[in-house]
Amino acid sequence: MSESKGWPLWEVFVRSKQGLNHKHVGSLRASDATMAIKNARDVYTRRAEGISIWVVPSNNITASDPSEEDSLFEPSQTKVYRHPTFYDVPDGISHM
């Protein structure tokens, strides 16, 4: 990624309501964390989309490599025995 001469890039996460997790909504540029929060409020929560905001400098995020998708995630698809539907439960057994 090329680096802009201006303000650094921040990733924005918003909690839409109490009890839910923060969710990534997008990014923005700001000179520091305080400004990033203020800008995030104006850019991403103009219509009551959130009650809490996290901002993280984008260059502090480490992402998994898409080319390693298979080695990372394929094993979880072949382990069907990790799901309750894999097991036979005799008729007449309830609360399970």
Binding site: S2, S4, W7, G26, P66
Partner: protein
């Protein structure tokens, strides 16, 4: 990378697109796909930002406090749309400052509609109703665009555009049902904005150089002419219902195609405006350049302040 490796990657990429699997920033993509998206998304961002100017022109002269609050909120939304879109372009590796410099140098384009002046208050109605209406037609299919960050930005944008169109229609409807002078003002705004609004969908399909490839990549979901027809079909009856006349003597319902026939578009005018010779091209780009120049010290001061505080923290 070897040529055969690239063609293998290209095949995987196209298969994903065909299967409606979204492409995300770190995924492999052909250079031309990346370039097309950067061009389209940054032009889209520029359009949102330049689009603030014709309407900003009327904020201080809105007829009452309600209209003023609404117009302010709308113009603020356009700024937000520009920011979502610049961020989406950045996920493709575009440099934000450079994209903005390309706008200022005239290298990058933006929607030609914003090169027309806003002469009366009725233009605020015509812009919301017609320009935002046409934008919605264009943008709703983009919510299903193959590139994830662009599609997600468009979902946010479309939710907000619907308010824009309704507020514009309310303004023009009020005038259309007002005094004789007010009605004339509404009609005049429709006369001036109708054809430029139809031009917003771009050249006819036969003359549109990017359409075919963009549709194969699912960046674009409908052709220019399809979207233009949809716009005319929904907008013509709206004009009629508020007693205004669409300035096209050839506009006529066609029972067989279940749509309107309409007159030819003046493509000379379109290309003149795209080429920089519209009524307000120079004024718009000058205003953006001035905003950047005048705001430069703020950008620098904020960064200097942040650096100083960080240095203190680590000391």
């Amino acid at each position: 990378m070897k040529d055969q490796d690239i063609s293998k990657l290209e095949a995987i990429f196209q298969q994903k697109i065909d299967d409606d699997i979204k492409i995300e920033p770190n995924d492999w993509m052909p250079d031309a796909y990346r370039k097309t998206l950067i061009r389209q998304i940054s032009q889209h961002a520029h359009s949102e930002v330049v689009g603030m100017l014709p309407e900003g022109n009327w904020i201080t002269r809105a007829p009452n406090l309600r209209r003023k609050a609404v117009l302010l909120a709308k113009v603020q939304d356009e700024a937000g749309h520009g920011l979502y879109l610049y961020s989406a372009a950045e996920t493709l590796g575009a440099d934000r400052e450079k994209t903005i410099d390309d706008l200022h140098s005239g290298k990058a384009k933006y929607s030609s509609i914003f090169n027309y002046p806003t002469l009366t208050w009725a233009d605020m109605g015509a812009i919301g109703w017609l320009v935002d209406g046409a934008a919605i037609m264009n943008q709703v299919p983009l919510c299903r665009c193959s590139y994830g960050p662009y599609a997600r930005a468009m979902i946010r944008v479309c939710k907000e555009e619907s308010f824009h169109q309704r507020q514009g229609f309310e303004v023009i409807n009020k005038l259309a049902n007002g005094t004789v002078e007010q009605k004339e003002m509404a009609q005049d705004a429709l006369n001036r904005f109708w054809w430029p609004a139809l031009m917003m969908f771009g050249p006819n399909d036969d003359d549109s150089s990017h359409t075919e490839q963009s549709m194969r990549w699912k960046i674009k979901r409908n052709t220019n002419d399809e979207l233009r027809q949809m716009f005319v079909d929904v907008t013509a009856p709206q004009a009629e219902s508020i007693g205004l006349t669409v300035p096209d003597p050839l506009l006529k319902w066609n029972e067989a195609k279940e749509g309107y026939d309409f007159g030819p578009i003046d493509w000379d005018e379109f290309w003149q405006v795209v080429g920089g010779n519209g009524p307000c091209n120079k004024e718009r780009v000058d205003a953006r350049r001035k905003a950047k120049e005048d705001g430069k010290w703020v950008v620098e001061a904020a960064m200097a302040f942040a650096n100083k505080r960080n240095a203190k923290k680590t000391a």
